[in-house]
Symmetry: C2
Subunit: 325 residues, 2 copies
């Protein structure tokens, strides 16, 4: 999915598809409007032979050229560039809805999307707090799922995410910690870690300093970690949140389970914003996207870095392949 | 102050004193037991000519050799190395109490201490949540004060610190934010910033997403920042906590005011743990110490890096000099 057409998405998608760097990892199909792909090729200064199809079921595998399922739903000449557009947001939401439909029919194993713009999505009729909640709604998912953030050094998983910090504290329960730990373990195994090493973050400063600054570590987090470790999940902690990312950077963990949004986001953004990938973990369908945004300030200049999108495609392929086993 | 004698404090103090790198910045006097300084010189493999005095008022200025006020309160041969010792904690607390007494009498302008061990201090009879609260108690301070963390890129100040995250949220009031901002402005001016640029962190993820994930930004933080900016303090924000440190690293701020402990600690520890200095800001007396700890794993090996302590000494000298103006 080419991302919001007012941003750098079409350009980086064209770059990744032209280099065919991800072609060894998956059978790729573009879902969207062929005119947006044309725009991306112009932005990127590349030409990719492609064949447009009206329906996904018409695509032959193997395909002689890049297949594009042309939804015919977006003329980029009628959209602005480098700014929030409700119409672009509407097109993004509609395209993702179509892709989720294909996935639910078993016609797509994974969905990788170039950057979206949340404000555009909201104004275009998709007012979800984040795309993960949109995907859960569209796929009819009712169990635990969550945003996973992957950088080359490690991956993070969240017990809570897009809620106020006060509400996040109320949501820290044994059930949610267990669900996040199981999701981390399953997902890291799918990414090739045989025995995932998972560090669990504390909630309070200094890990609560033995109960002096809060007792969630003693009452809730540690007993849950110990119970799951007794089951064979490679979880340790809780570790104070200002040391756990130092350990993770040194290679001591494959994954970190964090209690609230900013705990991990401060660290992963400092460690490598442009290398990162965001995954919706726990749904039937795999969803991945680069961690960076639409980069409105450099749209159309041909200088956007496609590395994050390439990494997102590769991760999606690995996760989907593991699921098919 | 040579730090906990069971740790690397005496060694790094001897290294800094031997190189005299901080001697241009201040008139230095060691307060402690001369036998601990001897131990540090052995650990460091250096010899420093020093003269022991029984009382601080006996020290002549300028002093022909390094003056040591020998309290005769610690025989390091009777202490373990590289582990928590209640007796070492008692000696540290007693020594700091004496130093605070000298400062309150006007005989010391600043106190720089090599790393302490909090568990040792607790067991040695000084059960404070942190050393800042100990210093506030010992100096009889009743107003706002706080821990400041300085790395080469920027300094952080805290609206709340060593309390549970739940209590921290309850403590986020206009009064405390104002006090932290004024403390940041005053302290950064003392450090040589003519017009300090201060970024203020949000509490909630995505800065509350316009009230969707919490409204402290709208109700409390933004109005306080705007009120103080109207007064001439160079404060901006709130910024979401996963972007404010990216901005600070790029040089956009001299200081960051954070709402809770881990917000800034995650960032400053990732950016440069060993370069950092901790300052007790807001008391009558200046207190500084390296951000790192007693490093029990490398005690006595001669390889401890004195850079943090040197930086702590230089910062203390600058803060004390500004206060004397």
């Amino acid at each position: 999915m080419l991302g919001d057409p007012t941003g750098i998405g079409p350009e980086i998608a064209a770059k990744v598809l032209a280099s065919n760097v991800a072609g060894d990892a998956a059978r790729l199909v573009v879902i969207g409007d062929a005119r947006v792909l044309d725009l991306g090729m112009r932005d990127a200064g590349v030409r990719i032979p492609y064949t447009a199809y009206a329906r996904l079921e018409d695509v032959p595998w193997p395909s002689p050229a890049l297949p594009v399922v042309d939804l015919g739903n977006c003329d980029p000449a009628r959209l602005p560039r480098g700014e929030v557009s409700p119409e672009a947001g509407r097109v993004c939401g509609e395209t993702l809805e179509r892709m989720v439909g294909f996935a639910c029919e078993g016609r797509l194993d994974a969905v990788t999307f170039a950057p979206l713009n949340k404000a555009a999505l909201h104004r275009g009729g998709y007012p979800f707090p984040d795309e993960h909640q949109m995907f859960a709604r569209l796929t009819g998912h009712t169990g635990f799922y969550g945003e996973m953030n992957v950088i080359p050094e490690f991956a993070t998983f969240r017990v809570t995410s897009h809620v106020s910090l006060r509400q996040a504290i109320d949501l820290i329960t044994p059930e949610r910690i267990e669900a996040a730990l199981r999701l981390a373990d399953t997902t890291l195994r799918a990414l090739g870690h045989d025995r995932p090493r998972i560090g669990v973050a504390a909630l309070n400063p200094h890990c609560g300093e033995n109960g002096l600054f809060g007792d969630e570590e003693i009452r809730i987090i540690r007993p849950t970690v110990e119970r799951l470790r007794a089951e064979g999940i490679g979880a340790t902690g809780p570790y104070s949140s200002d040391t756990i990312f130092l350990k993770a950077r040194r290679g001591e963990f494959d994954g970190v389970v964090m209690m609230y949004h900013d705990q991990g986001q401060i660290a992963t953004k400092l460690l490598g914003f442009n290398k990162g990938v965001t995954v919706t973990a726990g749904l039937e369908t795999v969803f991945t996207t680069p961690a960076h945004g639409t980069a409105f300030d450099i749209v159309g200049q041909g200088k956007a870095d496609p590395g994050g999108l390439e990494y997102a495609l590769r991760l999606a392929a690995r996760l989907a392949a593991a699921r098919a086993l």
